[in-house]
């Protein structure tokens, strides 16, 4: 079965129209403090969630503005997620997305926490929709 949610493209990074981003869904119910919550060398969130090639969904970022460099470090260590999907975009996340070339999307009509049960499901983002194979 497929579930679909509307998303708005915030940073596309030249992937252009008709492009598709796919990966396994990694939803977080809580906001993420990049500096502290993510270890860029191992590419792990909260000590046990692998970020590489995932579609990371979370409400918003909190904490230090140096956090943008943590996402950039994930890219440099080949541990970056495929995309970030948030409820509200903040300057630290926007800058993180641009310098790390991780596309950024915003959920329009659903809360990140309500997607927690779809953890590990295959998901794709295309044409303004996040489609989850449940």
């Amino acid at each position: 079965m497929k579930k679909s949610y509307r998303v708005k493209e915030v940073i596309s990074l030249g992937t252009g129209r008709g492009s598709i981003v796919c990966g396994l869904l990694l939803p977080s119910a809580e906001p993420i403090s990049y500096l502290g919550d993510i270890d860029p060398k191992s590419g792990v969130l909260h000590g046990n969630e692998v970020l590489a090639d995932k579609i990371l969904v979370f409400p918003n970022a909190v904490g230090s503005t140096v956090g943008s460099y943590v996402i950039y470090a994930l890219r440099k260590y080949n541990k970056a997620p495929k995309a970030m999907v948030v409820n509200s975009e903040d300057p630290v996340t926007i800058i993180a997305s641009i310098i790390s070339e991780v596309p950024l999307y915003k959920l329009i009509d659903c809360q990140a926490r309500s997607l927690v049960s779809y953890k590990g499901c295959r998901a794709c983002i295309k044409e303004g929709e996040l489609i989850i194979e449940t």
Partner: protein, 398 residues
């Protein structure tokens, strides 16, 4: 957002990939912040300079831009870097020192003029001037004491603003964004450390809103800096409207419509622990967060030269930290001070240094900001005491 033709050309990549990336970042952040245009800035201040904070990927990021011949489009200063001097018999590895100097060199090549957390002593902006500064104590000083306009920028964002020479026109760049939303009354502090602790508590009282603060009208600049830098540790607000200090404070207050005030004071316990607690034997004394003004450091040096005894190498140390603007006034005292266990440090910052790697366990400071950040970032425990108590204790007066 409205873009001029030239801004649009940068956005579309007509000036190359790097300005395009910077402009894109600026426009996106601007859109999210509700800005309808960009505004030229005369001074950008960048944070995220310490190797301990940004690591190898941060070096790669900055060197990538420097190698591509990127030049800042406006006057740019940067935060202090890690303290790289040895302590007793311990020193940082050659690798750490080399990597920190790579960061400094990359930023200098692009046009960074100075490394300090007090850029207002390098180039003082004017009332109403638009600037784009990262570093919370500098942002608070610029908005609250000078009356310049800057949002509280993050490190990489300020870097992009330096490349473009502009910022997004929202927040405290607009008059309406400067109107206080939280009304606080404090009892006039009696010394430096009380000012810092009050700042800390007012920040907790107004964690996300600009406060209007009465009770600080006749407080010295030094104490106001103690107040504001500590405020910045517990509040995200970019400004404090200080009665009798902040330009246009009367109008800002009357336009706020604020009525009911919150009284903030220090409890007897808070007052006593700044004086009474015993200092651990192996502690390092640090004064200079934010960086000491030339007036402050000259005053402290005079006190030390007149009151402190000579010491052996292995006993207590006092570190005095300032920016490049004080060097001419104080460097000639370096040797004399060294004999008394006092070290002058320039352009660097203990909070962004892994002091634990130098074998340091405790720091005694007069700074509310350092008290907050040292345990989180520098790997040491911190105690706060008033500046005069620290000097007396260090010189053996008690």
């Amino acid at each position: 957002m409205y873009l001029t033709r030239n801004e649009e050309a940068i956005f579309n990549g007509e000036y190359g990939e790097i300005p395009q990336k910077a402009m894109k970042a600026l426009v996106k952040v601007g859109e999210v912040s509700g800005a309808n245009k960009l505004v030229r800035v005369n001074h950008v201040h960048i944070s995220g300079i310490s190797y301990f904070n940004i690591g190898d990927p941060g070096i790669e990021f900055l060197e990538g831009f420097a190698d591509a011949e990127t030049k800042f489009a406006t006057y740019t200063t940067a935060n202090p870097y890690a303290i790289l001097v040895p302590y007793r018999n311990k020193r940082f590895s050659e690798e750490v020192i080399l990597k920190q100097s790579k960061i400094i060199r990359a930023l200098t090549r692009m046009g960074a003029k100075a490394f300090t957390c007090a850029p207002y002593y390098i180039r003082r902006p004017s009332v109403g001037e638009h600037i784009a500064w990262a570093e919370s104590n500098a942002v608070l000083y610029a908005n609250s004491i000078i009356g310049a306009h800057t949002n509280r920028e993050g490190g990489p964002l300020a870097f992009f603003e330096a490349i473009v020479g502009e910022t997004y026109f929202s927040g405290v760049h607009l008059y309406d964004g400067r109107i206080p939303k939280c009304y606080v009354s404090v009892e006039k502090p009696a010394n430096y450390v009380e000012s810092a602790l009050l700042g800390y508590k007012v920040g907790e009282t107004c964690p996300d809103r600009i406060p209007y603060v009465e009770g600080l009208a006749n407080v010295s600049e030094s104490w106001l800096r103690a107040f504001l830098s500590a405020f910045g540790a517990t509040s995200g607000a970019p400004m404090v409207v200080i009665e009798g200090v902040t330009p246009h404070y009367r109008k800002l207050f009357s336009d706020s419509g604020l009525k009911s005030k919150i009284f903030v004071s220090l409890s007897p316990e808070e007052l006593s622990f700044t004086k009474g607690s015993r200092s651990p034997e192996d502690a390092v004394y640090i004064i200079g967060c934010p960086h000491l003004s030339t007036k402050e450091i000259v005053g402290i040096i005079n006190y030390v030269l007149n009151n402190c005894p000579k010491r052996s190498n292995e006993s207590k140390e006092l570190w005095l930290i300032t920016g490049p603007y004080s060097a001419n006034a104080v460097y000639r005292y370096e040797n004399k001070l060294r004999d008394k266990g006092v070290r002058l440090l320039y352009n660097s910052c203990p909070v962004v240094t892994r002091l634990d790697l130098l074998g340091i366990k405790y720091v005694i400071t007069d700074s509310g900001k350092a008290l907050y950040y040292l345990p989180k970032l520098a790997g040491v425990r911190a105690l706060i005491k008033d500046r005069s108590v620290i000097l007396k204790e260090f010189c053996g007066g008690r």
